[in-house]
């Protein structure tokens, strides 16, 4: 990994930009606290069981302050979702070497994905579990998030000479399958199982493009890296 910041620190970092004046610093801090609060509360109580009052209380802001930042609970939830997804994308962009071979990029990406989920379970739960149960806009964004993985996976078709015959929806399906596996562990608080499943996740993901032998080799390498 290129720098020493943990994945949690990276996920929590707000996007940079111009220097802020004092009132903007306050507003930014309030927004940050509100988003942290909604993430924690939704992880504990689910989207439906989380109220704006509870979010404001946990964030240590007045209700009126909440409404200065967000129109309603859904808007707040969606902002937390968007921030988390954007932070995760930044991490992938920083830490996955675009010059490396495709199987290696997939292996690194999956490894990072699993590490992010384990490091930040509340954020992961918000994005991968509760987004599916928080209304149609959130569900749409969840599906968009999964769809955004497909183009990277699709690059693997260049490695399979018969790729033209593969199902059109294969990449979206694989993303959906991986998400479901993680969803099950998040929903049942069994995240401790997840790292050990990485080699199997990698094997299923790579097999359509490089075949089961090479995929198996990549899975064994991932397992060896974990053991080391």
């Amino acid at each position: 990994m290129k720098d020493a910041r943990s994945l949690s620190e990276r996920l929590s970092r707000l996007p940079g930009g111009r220097p802020l004046d004092a009132s903007e610093v306050v507003a930014k801090s309030q927004r940050e606290r509100i988003l942290a609060a909604v993430t924690e509360l939704v992880a504990e109580n689910g989207y439906r069981g989380t109220t704006i009052e509870a979010i404001a209380k946990q964030a240590r802001v007045a209700l009126s302050t909440f409404y200065e930042h967000f129109e309603d609970k859904e808007g707040c939830f969606l902002a937390a979702f968007d921030d988390s997804v954007a932070a995760a994308r930044e991490i992938f962009a920083e830490l996955v070497d675009p010059e490396s071979a495709w199987p290696e990029r997939v292996a690194t990406g999956l490894d990072l994905f699993v590490k992010m989920v384990v490091a930040e379970p509340a954020r992961a739960k918000l994005c991968l579990v509760d987004a599916q149960a928080a209304g149609s806009t959130a569900l749409g964004r969840y599906h968009e998030m999964l769809d955004s993985v497909a183009p990277t996976l699709r690059e693997g078709r260049e490695l399979n000479p018969r790729a033209a015959g593969l199902p059109d929806g294969l990449e979206g399906a694989i993303a959906g399958g991986l998400a479901w596996l993680v969803h099950q562990r998040l929903a049942a608080d069994r995240l401790d199982e997840l790292p050990a499943l990485l080699p199997e996740m990698l094997q299923v993901t790579l097999t359509p493009y490089v075949g089961e032998t090479e995929a198996g080799r990549a899975a064994e390498e991932a397992e060896a890296r974990q053991a080391a």
Binding site: Q132, L166, P167, A173, I174, G177, M201
Partner: protein
């Protein structure tokens, strides 16, 4: 009956209708699955039974796969039940039959089952059932690829008409 169960709160009648359809769905799939000999033929038999069930009544297919998508925790629970039973079918038989290339845990079956569900959701949502599109071979591809390898799975894409 509403087209989706995702109101706030979710439409109870819609969820109950989904439960009835899901029960019918498994009444058709399970006998087909256990009635065939060998895991590979079982997967095909279940797939053929599923496609017939969906094509007989496209609104029923919509209710089964699309209506509960986004219908809160109640919808997720129903979706998860279907995916878990898909995973049971994928995972159980290869262990019994000693299929070569057996993956190391149930996780492979879970990934494949989640992928199949995603394919079904996309196809049904997109109106593929109403248009009479054939996509069983794509589902079979996803089911067998992790167990039998890429070459065998690709060959499934070409043999749909034989089944």
């Amino acid at each position: 009956m509403s087209a989706r169960c995702d109101g706030s709160p979710p439409d109870e009648r819609c969820l109950a209708a989904h439960d009835d359809v899901a029960a019918e769905f498994w009444e058709r799939l399970w006998p087909a699955y256990v009635g065939a000999i060998g895991w590979h033929d079982r997967i095909w038999a279940a797939g053929v039974a599923m496609m017939r069930f969906l094509q007989e009544d496209p609104p029923r297919a919509h209710l089964l796969f699309v209506a509960v998508d986004g219908a809160g925790p109640e919808g997720l629970k129903r979706r998860d039940e279907i995916v878990k039973r898909f995973a049971d079918m994928l995972d159980d038989a290869p262990r019994r039959n000693g299929t070569p290339g057996l993956p190391r845990s149930r996780a492979t079956a879970e990934i494949a089952a989640g992928a199949i569900y995603r394919m079904l959701l996309d196809k049904v949502q997109d109106g593929a059932i109403e248009r009479g599109e054939e996509f069983l071979a794509e589902l079979i591809y996803m089911a067998v690829m992790p167990y039998l390898g890429a070459d065998v799975a690709e060959s499934e894409l070409a043999v749909q008409s034989l089944h």
